[in-house]
Amino acid sequence: MTTTPVKRPSWTTWDAPTERWLLSGFCRDGKQRTMLLELVARIAFPTVLVLSIYLLFAGHDRAGGGFSGGLVAGQAFVLRYLAGGRMDDSAIVSMRPPVLIGLGLTIATASAFLPLLFGGELLETAIYKFAVPPLGEIKFVTSVLLDSGVFLLIVGVVLDLLRTLGSGIEADVDAAERGQR
């Protein structure tokens, strides 16, 4: 970990950490890096994701739901973007945001048709309860499928916004600066 810059760094880049806190193929330039933020992002990111999954499942009985859950998960990615820049490799499965959006929409609409297979009406909900001995009773409500579609779609939307309003505009700014020089 020897950082011997050829050019004397501007004081605005002093904050850059020496280690790799977040996984990212592309790093912000030093000017924007902040050790503290990256540290917090590293801890907060998975925590917020857990929170979002909680909201997805808790929605039936408490405030939350696929929509809020998706937005919270999206905020996790926002945080990650703010700290670490572009997030091309944030997950092991890399999926373009539009694909995620499409997938979410497909799941949500397909889930509307699902009850037809079991002789129900469109969008009808079924409630299944299982008793799994060590874990207690598990309730499965089919509408959670729709909620998951919503969740995925929202995450996709936020990721897409980060890709466009975030990185896209950033690239424009860079291009503009290059063009001026």
Partner: protein, 138 residues
């Protein structure tokens, strides 16, 4: 069921401010106007359900004390839709900025052309009417 005066004043202010911003030329102001109007309409939707009450959670709130859940669900949908469209308009403002170098909604060029024609017609009297007639009936 009547909305109380405090909420009425809030609604009046939100809608007025929103409408005023909507009638501006700066796209960013218009956008803020739409966001504020969205807030106003969502608040209106929520208050349309009735005065404050307990959250509509079975088991924690007595059904008689529950706030009307339907307007909340509708407002939730409306919030999401307003958000979606706001981001879109934001992107449009940005695009306008990159294309034109400003983010203003200027007047329509073709309409301006017709206005110029109208003014020219108003200035010149009979003689040009003949030409125009020829033009018109060609």
């Amino acid at each position: 069921m009547t909305i109380n005066l405090t909420m009425a004043v809030v609604l009046a202010v939100l809608y007025s401010v929103g409408f005023y911003l909507l009638m501006q030329r700066s796209l960013m102001r218009i956008l803020l106007g739409i966001v504020i109007l969205g807030h106003g309409s969502n608040l209106l939707l929520q208050t349309a359900g009735g005065p404050p009450a307990g959250a509509a959670m079975i088991g924690t709130t007595d059904p008689a004390q529950m706030a009307d859940p339907l307007p909340q669900a509708m407002a939730l949908t409306a919030i999401v839709i307003t958000f979606a469209l706001t981001t879109f308009l934001l992107a449009l403002a940005y695009r306008s900025w990159t294309l034109l170098g400003h983010d203003e909604v200027r007047d329509d060029i073709e309409d301006r052309r017709i206005q110029r024609l109208e003014r020219r017609l108003a200035e010149s009297e009979e003689d040009s009417a003949e030409d125009l007639a020829k033009e018109a009936t060609q």
